[in-house]
């Protein structure tokens, strides 16, 4: 089925309306740095949208805006529920935390680690927050770490000492362990070898099968071609 056909049949889960984002750097001569201008987007269930463009065009910034990590200058970011809409750019902290804990998954480029927390605990956390029992969460985490080829000897260690690729896989495990109706992926395969890239492709397709709406940045064209239903280009004119 073509991308448009998919979109036509499925519910829209995320719609971005006229998003503007600039940075005001008060400490650097009050420089105003525009990044995104009048950006709009719609993502349906079971659809994966890839953001494409040269580096510096605002792809990561856009994802961070969608996640509520960055503040919008203007615009709306609507999450569509069956019975209503929440605009991430204009809602309470409580709602944003709820969204992040139950609805939106985010695999960022860098793993922010709290030292002293073992890798397996980091991976289990999203399930525990949703009230899943310890045993069950543990089993799922172990499963996922196996799939991502993280040796068991590393599970009880803090990821601070892991390689870039290992950290990335922990990040991915954490992002995919709980079902997320909306998923943001920022270069999920950046430091991975071919074997693990394949695993990530599987995970993304499984998520799509579970009807997740996905927005991703995929530097690797092979991965992008394998998962993306739609490509959105960010260029100079977007700023």
């Amino acid at each position: 089925m073509s991308a448009n056909a998919i979109a036509a049949n499925n519910t829209i889960r995320l719609s971005v309306e006229s998003l503007h984002k600039h940075f005001q750097l008060h400490l650097q001569n009050k420089t105003r740095l525009p990044v995104l201008s009048d950006f709009s987007l719609q993502v349906s269930e079971a659809e994966c949208v890839a953001l494409v463009g040269r580096s510096g065009m605002g792809k990561s910034t856009l994802l961070k805006c969608l996640y509520g990590n960055y503040v919008l200058s203007e615009g709306r970011i609507n999450v569509h529920f069956d019975d209503g809409i929440i605009d991430i750019a204009n809602t309470s902290t409580q709602n944003i935390y709820y969204l992040r804990q139950h609805i939106i998954g985010y695999v960022s480029q860098f793993l922010r680690v709290i030292p002293r927390v073992p890798a397996i605990a980091i991976v289990m956390e999203p399930l525990l927050i949703r009230g899943i029992a310890q045993q069950q969460a543990l089993a799922k985490a172990q499963d996922l770490l196996h799939r991502l080829n993280i040796p068991e000897s590393l599970w009880s260690l803090s990821p601070t000492t892991f390689s870039g690729g290992e950290q990335q896989r922990i990040n991915i495990a954490r992002g995919f362990i709980a079902p997320n109706p909306i998923l943001f992926l920022d270069e999920p395969t950046a430091s991975l070898d071919a074997v693990n890239r394949k695993v990530v492709i599987e995970l993304i397709n499984e998520a799509k099968h579970d009807r997740s709406a996905i927005v991703g940045i995929f530097h690797d064209e092979e991965v992008r071609d394998a998962v993306a239903d739609k490509l959105i280009y960010l260029s100079e004119s977007a700023a």
Binding site: H26, N69, Y70, F81, D82, N95, P115, P181
Partner: protein, 263 residues
């Protein structure tokens, strides 16, 4: 996928709060709500007014203007400074807890550890020695202090241990809201880390609502859901923790964030 049914009843509502000691010294124009299970950080440099604000919120000093409404466990909306002093002091001993920067200010150093923890329980009417002792043991475990120290004096404890004992003492009556003033100030780095981990765990396990005053942005990022930035008695920016630290809007917040040293 249905809209969330969240409890939107704040546990604390602060409106128009002001307590000034001079021009822009103290706090003013403070409006904020705290929700159950939420950790709010008040960050700022010395003299910003954050400690003054905290002391108003804990019922210790009376503000010049404004209201502090606390939702009691019985569902009553209590204006902290309109209720009687007796009621306020009772609240401060049971439903509210204050953890002071220097544990010496929050403990009775010449009273054994178990009795320090048990005091709040005895203050609200517990009269069974065995049960009180059991509770004390339980809380010592919770804060990672060996239970065989239950009959020891706090002046024999290290600084980090004293701070953990203070936390146990405050949590013994299961307060719903805890206020902390630089709880890791003055402690060695490794001790700080252990304490922060403990606080993080307890906050989640016990579903505590917390207001924490700190000048340390790393502590704020680790523990807080939301931050309020104060400068010269005023709140200059509030927002989601990661948002405020990663995309600060106000000039002062940008200055604070850019000043943090990273090893």
């Amino acid at each position: 996928m249905k809209l969330p049914q969240l409890n939107t009843q704040p546990i604390l509502q602060v409106s128009g709060l002001a307590k000034l000691y001079g021009i822009n010294r103290g706090c003013q124009d403070v409006d904020v709500d705290l929700f159950p299970g939420e950790v709010l950080g008040i960050v700022g440099e010395s003299g910003s007014g954050k400690t003054t604000l905290l002391r108003c919120l804990s019922g210790e000093i009376e503000p010049d203007h404004g209201n502090i409404i606390f939702q009691s466990s019985h569902g009553e909306a209590l204006n902290l400074f309109s209720v009687s002093e007796a009621q306020r002091r009772l609240l401060m001993r049971s439903e509210l807890g204050v953890i002071r920067q220097n544990p010496r200010d929050g403990l009775r150093l010449r009273v054994i550890a178990g009795a320090n923890i048990g005091e709040r329980l005895m203050a609200v009417g517990d009269r069974h020695y065995g049960n009180i002792r059991q509770s004390a043991r339980h809380w010592l475990e919770q804060v990672d202090i060996q239970t065989d120290r239950i009959d020891d004096y706090p002046y024999t404890f290290s600084g980090g241990m004293q701070q953990r004992l203070q936390i146990a003492r405050v949590l013994a009556t299961r307060p719903r809201m805890v206020l902390m003033d630089e709880p890791t100030g003055g402690l060695d780095v490794s001790v700080q880390a252990r304490l922060l981990d403990l606080i993080r765990t307890l906050v989640t396990e016990l579903q505590l609502s917390v207001i924490i005053v700190t000048h340390d942005l790393a502590v704020a990022r680790l523990l807080c859901h939301r931050l309020m930035v104060m400068q010269n008695s005023k709140v200059v920016e509030t927002g989601l923790t990661d948002q405020l630290l990663d995309d600060p809007q106000h000039a002062y917040t940008q200055l604070l964030v850019s000043s943090v040293l990273t090893p």
